[in-house]
């Protein structure tokens, strides 16, 4: 450990060239780390309530948002929601709507949202509304903290993983073209700047939360230049954090290890598509899309949503969706706003209901409806 640290610092001293390259990075890093400390720049407040943008999205999004609003009302949380109904499938979308949402978000700095579904047919633009939102706000880091819920056992218990995913480039570039009829090319873009940014975010996050290891997930044996650049960026950043162990693993081996022995991982960092896969895999390990919260960060904004993002259209109107993920995400949002007391109140109530096991939605093997679950959470709030 000591030797590695010494080696690391010796390398940066000896390699004058890399030393020079690392200088501008340090200057950039300030804006990245500030995203984690809201106390430096509090979001817009009005009469000591916080204003938060809410975009319910499609599918069961509106139902989950209702649950959040009800719980917040019962817990007397000083948060006011500004709702926007942006949707690509319901034709409620338009450029002006998107602009409205963006300006509200830029004002409030914090948002909570459901999944805006992307239809497979496209009219003109290849990028979906979700992707454009992410790009315009530069929400480059998606963090999903996968935690086993106490009281609900799955095949793998006591999991505690953090998955950090680069969200603005990679395979989701939306740059596709049909060169000749029947031959389609899709571009995957990897840049050094964004790879470094997400790597720095991952290491900063690991340091802040007291994590011991960061594992980079890649496929550089096949995509030598693309994922090779990503790996190189991660390795360069790893040298700046001698206290944190750095490892790499290939994506297919990673998936296999996650189902055989997920306890070997701590923090995982990866480009866009692999992040999508691993997010969902890990969510499945602890109980599904209904129980894992997630958040997206940019240098200035924070958006809270579920970890595995699915509109779950087949559950609309049937009152069976599990509000756990959205409620836990809302609790994380309260912590981000420095409302520690309310944050703990909400998350404790949710965890208590799950632990008791009497009121569970169908995805966790129970028979309760979403409303019943929400009411159970409200009754367990230690006001």
């Amino acid at each position: 450990m000591m030797a590695a640290a010494l080696r690391g610092s010796l390398v940066t001293l000896a390699k004058g060239l890399s030393g020079a390259r690392l200088q501008p990075l340090c200057a950039r890093s300030l804006s990245v780390t500030s995203s984690q400390n809201v106390s430096e720049s509090p979001p817009a407040r009005a009469d000591s309530t916080f204003k938060v943008t809410m975009v319910p999205g499609d599918g069961v999004g509106p139902e989950l948002m209702t649950a959040v609003k009800e719980v917040f009302k019962a817990a007397d949380v000083p948060v006011e929601f500004e709702e926007f109904h942006l949707s690509e499938v319901q034709n409620m979308a338009s450029e002006e709507k998107l602009e409205e949402v963006l300006s509200s978000m830029k004002n409030n700095r914090v948002a909570i949202k459901g999944k805006i579904h992307t239809p497979m047919e496209y009219k003109g633009e290849l990028a979906s509304y979700e992707m454009r939102l992410r790009r315009k706000l530069d929400l480059f880091a998606n963090v999903v903290h996968v935690n086993s819920l106490p009281g609900y056992s799955t095949r793998h218990n006591n999991l505690d993983l953090v998955i950090i995913r680069e969200q603005t480039e990679g395979e989701y570039s939306s740059l596709e073209h049909e060169s000749v009829s029947g031959v389609v090319e899709c571009l995957k873009i990897i840049t050094r700047e964004k790879s470094r940014r997400i790597a720095k975010f991952a290491f900063d996050y690991a340091t802040k939360k007291g994590r011991s290891k960061v594992t980079a997930v890649h496929k550089a044996n096949i995509m030598k230049l693309g994922d090779g650049l990503f790996l190189q960026s991660c390795a360069e950043l790893a040298e700046l954090y001698p206290k944190i162990k750095y490892e790499t693993i290939i994506i297919d081996n990673c998936c296999m290890q996650l189902v055989q022995n997920p306890y070997q991982f701590d923090v995982l960092v990866m480009p866009n598509l692999y992040g999508n896969i691993i997010d969902n895999l890990a969510a499945g390990l602890v109980g599904g899309a209904g129980v894992v919260p997630g958040e997206s960060y940019s240098a200035e904004y924070a958006v809270f949503e579920t970890g595995a993002r699915h509109p779950f259209a087949q559950a609309v109107g049937r009152n069976i969706a599990n509000p756990t993920a959205m409620l836990l995400s809302a609790s994380n949002m309260l912590r981000h706003l420095n409302l520690e007391y309310h944050s703990n109140m909400v998350s404790e109530a949710v965890k208590k209901v799950i632990k008791q096991g009497k009121v569970r939605t169908s995805d966790l093997g129970g028979y309760a409806t979403s409303e019943e679950f929400t009411r159970a959470v409200i009754s367990n709030l230690a006001v």
Partner: protein, 360 residues
């Protein structure tokens, strides 16, 4: 009196067809590979002999050589043998990092146009994993997609990798998937894609799958997003039957499914090429640390060989060998180290041979 003649006639016909079947020995190219490759290949040959399978082995080496023009290629004897026999069985190959030549598997794939990678994943009784009742097949397009190998450094610090999807390759893999489902009594085929994000490329793949599905009305066709498949796979894998998908997703999902049943040491795999060529292989590594010590587990190569027998239509022998192998593992008395036991490779092999002979 007439009854007896009839009896003699029938028994003679049976004997004749059995004799003909025994004479109908097929030659298969065997590529032992590196590391533990030779040991497990020997094990498989022994078991096949014990089962009296009508297979004759032709051993070949595929270490890359530089052909005329400076291009790397596999030795001409190996290529000739494969083209003649059409069926091959391959052990693990090592790709030395600084050898200068591309990965051997890539070379084989290009030489024989191996476009479909088929991996059946079935839970093995006796080898406990948290996931029981897995019974699915992943069929992966193996020639294009994200592994096209076309990458460019645009400017310093910006790299572009190209994912290529063509109509021809998508149609070919979809057709193979449905044919496979039909020939193996599978009920449904699911296309796995991300057409909500990669609307043009995966959209094309999906369109082709839908078109081919029209010709196979007896097989149910569904489509599912890759992330939904991953989510559901780790919660309840029994929902899935045959999965067909482009290259990268196939790579990830097939390894995920291998993890569900116990890892690469027990997973069979087959590569189907154009012109009727098919190479069955074990997908684990060469394990140089245990090479030559009689500790290797031949299960993966054996199950791949069983897959090969089924491909060739020798279902009887396939069933016999497979049952013997599963029985040995279920019994848990003679298991190699990676399966949780202490036996040597030769002991494990001998046990399977004994069971096969007992079945006759």
């Amino acid at each position: 009196f007439g009854g007896k003649t009839w009896y003699i006639k029938v028994s003679f016909t049976c004997l004749k067809s059995k004799y003909l079947e025994e004479l109908n020995i097929q030659t298969v190219t065997l590529i032992p590979g590196d590391g533990i490759g030779p040991e497990i290949s020997t094990a498989v040959m022994k078991i096949f002999e014990a089962a009296k399978a009508p297979i004759q082995w032709e051993e070949r080496n595929v270490t890359a050589i530089k052909g005329p023009g400076g291009r790397w290629m596999i030795p001409p004897e190996a290529k000739e043998s494969m083209n003649k026999n059409k069926i091959g069985l391959k052990g693990p190959l090592k790709t030395p990092i600084a050898a200068g030549h591309p990965s051997m598997n890539l070379l084989l794939r290009k030489t024989f146009d191996l476009y479909a990678n088929v991996r059946p994943c079935v839970s093995i009784e006796g080898f406990k994993t948290p996931y029981t009742d897995v019974d699915l097949v992943t069929i992966r397009e193996n020639t294009e997609g994200e592994y096209s190998g076309i990458e460019h450094l645009i400017v310093d610090g910006v790299v572009q990798s190209i994912k290529l999807i063509t109509e021809e390759a998508s149609r070919r893999i979809a057709e193979y998937a449905f044919e496979y489902a039909r020939n193996n009594q599978r009920t449904s085929v699911t296309a796995v894609h991300k057409a909500n994000i990669m609307r043009m490329s995966d959209g094309l793949f999906l369109r082709k799958c839908r078109e081919v599905a029209e010709n196979y009305k007896d097989v149910k066709f569904t489509e599912m997003y890759l992330d939904t498949v991953c989510l559901n796979m780790v919660q309840d894998p029994s929902h899935f039957d045959v999965l067909v998908m482009p290259n990268l997703y196939g790579d990830i999902l097939s390894d995920l499914c291998a993890g569900l049943i116990g890892g690469l040491g027990v997973t069979p795999s087959g590569n189907i090429g154009a012109n009727g060529v098919a190479i069955f292989e074990s997908v684990h590594g060469t394990a140089p640390d245990i090479a030559g010590k009689d500790l290797a587990n031949p299960t993966a190569l054996l199950l791949s060989a069983v897959m090969m027998l089924r491909h060739m239509g020798l279902h009887g022998h396939a069933k016999k060998i497979e049952t013997a192998c599963f029985d040995t593992i279920r019994d848990e008395k003679v298991l190699t180290k990676d399966l949780g036991g202490n036996a040597k490779c030769s002991e494990f092999t001998a046990d399977i041979c004994r069971r096969v002979q007992d079945m006759d």
